[in-house]
Symmetry: C2
């Protein structure tokens, strides 16, 4: 397969992916914003997330800023701004501000020296913990600890689950397809030799 066709094909195989904007800032105060579909949950205790940095300078500005400040924010992408979020993947120069270029707004919280995306309904600050080189394809796995979460409390259910569908969070397939979701059901904690139970009262 030609390179681009192969990229579409292989990117589709893992299934639906998360859509998040990574916001960073350099030591001079210049900000950067980039969409990632590789943010993945690594563990709840400590609360760890990972994301994959491509080689060939694909995410150079984001990576430089993360390494310099050891702090970044992750902002879930929702229906209202998914097109602006996708546009951050364009090859802007270091001096161009993606926030301004794509039409999204910065918001700062006290004590956190990197911006959040104002339009995002679920966002959090992450402290860099580790950078693991993946030698097989020169990518890097960025590992960080979640230190501050901002989310509308209506979306947080009694058992801790966050109803990200109610926040209109989108999901990605392949390189460029964006989707909203419709819940089938939540399912009870599975036990051997017991039928799978639908949780009907939690949402």
């Amino acid at each position: 397969m030609p390179q681009r066709q192969r990229a579409h094909f292989i990117n589709s195989l893992s299934g639906f992916k998360s859509a998040n904007l990574i916001a960073t800032q350099d030591l001079c105060g210049n900000t950067n914003l980039a969409i990632f579909s590789s943010v993945v949950h690594f563990g709840a205790s400590p609360p760890l997330v990972g994301l994959i940095m491509r080689p060939n300078n694909g995410n150079r500005h984001t990576l430089d800023n993360i390494l310099n400040k050891s702090l970044f924010t992750i902002n879930q992408v929702s229906v209202g701004h998914y097109q602006q979020a996708h546009q951050t993947s364009a090859a802007y120069t270091k001096n161009e501000c993606e926030f301004k270029s794509v039409g999204l707004n910065k918001e700062y919280l006290e004590g956190i020296d990197v911006p959040f995306v104002k339009e995002s309904q679920l966002r959090y600050a992450v402290q860099l913990k580790d950078v693991l080189p993946i030698t097989h394809n020169n990518t890097q796995l960025i590992l960080g600890e979640i230190i501050h979460v901002c989310c509308n409390s209506n979306a947080i259910k009694a058992d801790g689950y966050i109803d990200i569908e109610s926040l209109e969070t989108v999901t990605v397939s392949g390189l460029d397809s964006y989707h909203i979701t419709q819940r089938l059901s939540r399912l009870a904690y599975a036990k051997p030799n017991q039928k799978c139970d639908v949780l009907s009262d939690v949402i």
Copy 2:
């Protein structure tokens, strides 16, 4: 937060996740099947996927089999079998076969000595490439190379994109919520100073 509530909360933060069944086989021919929401695309060339193994023996049988055979299959979960897929997360003993216990069927392809899930519409065999320890929480990142893909050709578009929504692939949020999707649009490759274009003719 109590441990379980915290797990629900933190698991929701990364956004929508993939839903995949990992099928493995030990050296005696005993098979294992387990649902994972942590399968993530690592790169197209070479075609690499990763998945995260929990500590505390959570995925012990799957991990043992992968390490012993260096081969496993990844099978996307779709609407028709998501409840059976969830049920594989129950703590079955090593001698219980999850395929049989949850009511899913094995299928073997010539030359590949691990089973596929017959009910899955998009599935592939993966050769183990690396196991990276994540020391911060005792998880392990399993990296593998995709060596053989089975997918209905109707779902594969001219540009290589696979329409996994047409295959009714589901997505997961938090620990236990399953969702179908509805496409908003595919978006053109983004370029600076050019409006984001909707690709209307590719699906």
